[in-house]
Amino acid sequence: MIRRTVAALDERLGAAHPLKRTLRYVFPDHWTFMLGEIAMYCFAILVITGIFLTFWYVPSDAELHYAGSYVPLQGTSMSESFASVMHISFDVPAGLLIRQTHHWAADVFIVAIVLHLVRILLTGAYRKPRELNYWIGVTMLGLAILEGFLGYSLVDDLLSGMGLAIAYAVAMSIPFVGGQFAFLVWNGEFPGTSSLLPRLEILHVFLIPMAIATLLALHLAQIVRQHHTQFPSEGSERVVRGTPAWPGYALRSIGLFLVVAGVLFLLGGLVQINPIWEWGPYAPYLSTNGAQPDWYVGWLIGALRLMPPLEIVIGGYTVVPSPFWGGALFPGIVFGLLYAWPPLARRLRLDDRREHNLLDRPRDNPRRTALVVGFLVWVFTVFAAGATDRFYFRSFISYEGQVWFFRAFALLVPFLVYFVTKRICEELRARDTRPLRGWGGTVIQRDSSGGFQDLRQHKR
């Protein structure tokens, strides 16, 4: 059977050589190398569940009265788009499972991409010859965030509408061209005309997924051509050492795909996400502080909340409206720094100009690690500021007090974190200790007199 299939393919396509190369392709082993794989598998689940959803979703703002099986909203006036998602959620068999799994997969997708990016930055995997692949990856992160935002915008529930209102204001706020840009996208003044939802839909279900798929193919092709990086304990700058694709690695990776898919379906089936029937349909005069958007826009909300009410006006012309600072400039700086990072790190003498196939441990390059961690803490602080209203409900600290706290925190703490991280890395490197390896917790024993004794105090 095997012999006949291989022979048939080889005689027609010359497949034996590429097949041999594929089966023997070497994957170095490290748990952090799974993060990118998890992102890829989430994308696969997103495509599969997304196709299912397109069979019912209708991108239309035509008003109708809901007549589906969710009683509390029966008779409510809503857009056809919102009604179609209500139909998926309540009247299509397994529709809610697929919709919630799709939503969860998007959230996990972007978590995995961000963790993958952090790993790449901390280990120096972006260095020559892999800068192109790094830039492709950063582009995919940006597209994934945009794709997720468009996805929850399509529903036309209250959360969608509030998100689009903010997106409209941020688009309007771009100096000089913003107003016209927003009018082109929305086909006029917010909330736009009936052409808006079809535009968002074609972006969400076709253009951006195709762009991500194409970049993903390039990303993988480049990895295959250049081989995976690895840690020095495995191979060397010349020799990549690891598990061949077949049989060991393929079975493990298929296993990872199935587990990722399984966890996403468990989440989709058991953990409610984006209950649109609680938000209800959108109208420009409605809003709530109960509907929280997905985590990956939290950093933008935090930035919009933290920025002071600064508008630059020259001669009656508003050069910079205030949403620009948090909604456009802040993400622009974050992505600008990410794109500029490989040459910037060379300029700062964090990296040399040679080719590197071996990864650094984070401690091996204290200044780089400290800069990356400081940068991440900065972005994460702004992200946390997106939850100030949630903290407010659970604490006695005034909202204004929290905003001032986060403003100071975002400006000062990254520098502190830089010095602390640098020091920790230098200490770890000098002593070559491995505080996390082999630590199995502490076992204590209570003796008859009531005292406690640490049984594994010196065990490492």
């Binding site: 107003g179 086909n187 399984g262 009410p309 012309y317 205030s322």
Partner: protein, 365 residues
Amino acid sequence: MTPGGFFARLVTALGGVSGLRRRRRGRQAELHQLFHPVDRKVDAVRESEEASRGYGATRREEPVPPPEIDETSDPHAELVVALLLIAAAIAFAGFVVFYVVSEDTQLLGLCLGLGLVLAGVASALAGKRVVIQEKTTDEYKDYGDREERREVENHLVEGKVGVTRRKLLFSSLAAVGAALGAAAVMPIASLGPRVGEKVYETPWSAGKKVVDETGEAITLDTLSPGEFITAFPAGASKEDIGSALVLVRLEAGELELPADRAGSAPGGYVAYSKICTHAGCAVSLFRYPTFDETQPGPALVCPCHYSTFNPADGGKVLFGPAGRPLPQLPLRAGADGGLEAAGGFYEPIGPSYGGIREAPGEQPL
């Protein structure tokens, strides 16, 4: 033939073919050092690097560790994998059954998710414990071949060999490129109208009746001091961002309106555009402390980014990121006792953009 035996022989054979040779230990650290020193003189580095590589000379000498192969399959693991696969099959079958009989989201998700996780664990376990375990090696390729690069350059340059009016042709080409580019982007302009065609106009003008969400007229008795309501112009679309008002009634003594707006608040009623001047959300929170003096006076708050406006003082920004006050609509009591607009908004409504402050303000009577 056991799978282990077959694959082991296959792998050993292939391993021999791909030229995997001697064991090497303890040189990683050394090599790591070798490729690490920082040197900014790029050219010098490249030269020495290429020399040190010698394109193959030193490379072939580098010892490569032989493949490590463990052919033994763990019989316990085989059993566990089989059990996991059977459990996964039962879970998937459960999905089919529940799909037919109950369509319950939780049960469907549980069956499908559990089946996938079980099958995944089985596959990963098989990859780790059942099939042959091996570590093999491959070489990182060196890219950058000077000879070939030069050939590519020569082929590219061939394109202009023998062409005499190079400059003329290149300028014409640039002209056609620019014109084609402009023609290609022009249709983008069809996507929407010019900015400013709508943003200045609102449905409000002097005499327009103020009604609530159901279309009922709002009179001076509708609200008590400290209450607020969302209001609209009679007969206009509620979806228009120029329509929605947040109507607040304050005690007459609480008002601190600017002198030129003194007559805009009959009975303590003040009206503001409901669209936040920061990011366009609906300003739907009203802070009106009625007991303890823990909050500093009444405020209208947007739930998106918590821009806070003072309804007593013409919508002035108290806190938060909004760069302009909430636009106020002057009110008056109509002949029938119903509230109506005394004119258009004092300021342009909606989020800011370049021309927002140049908007012709409709002055009230």
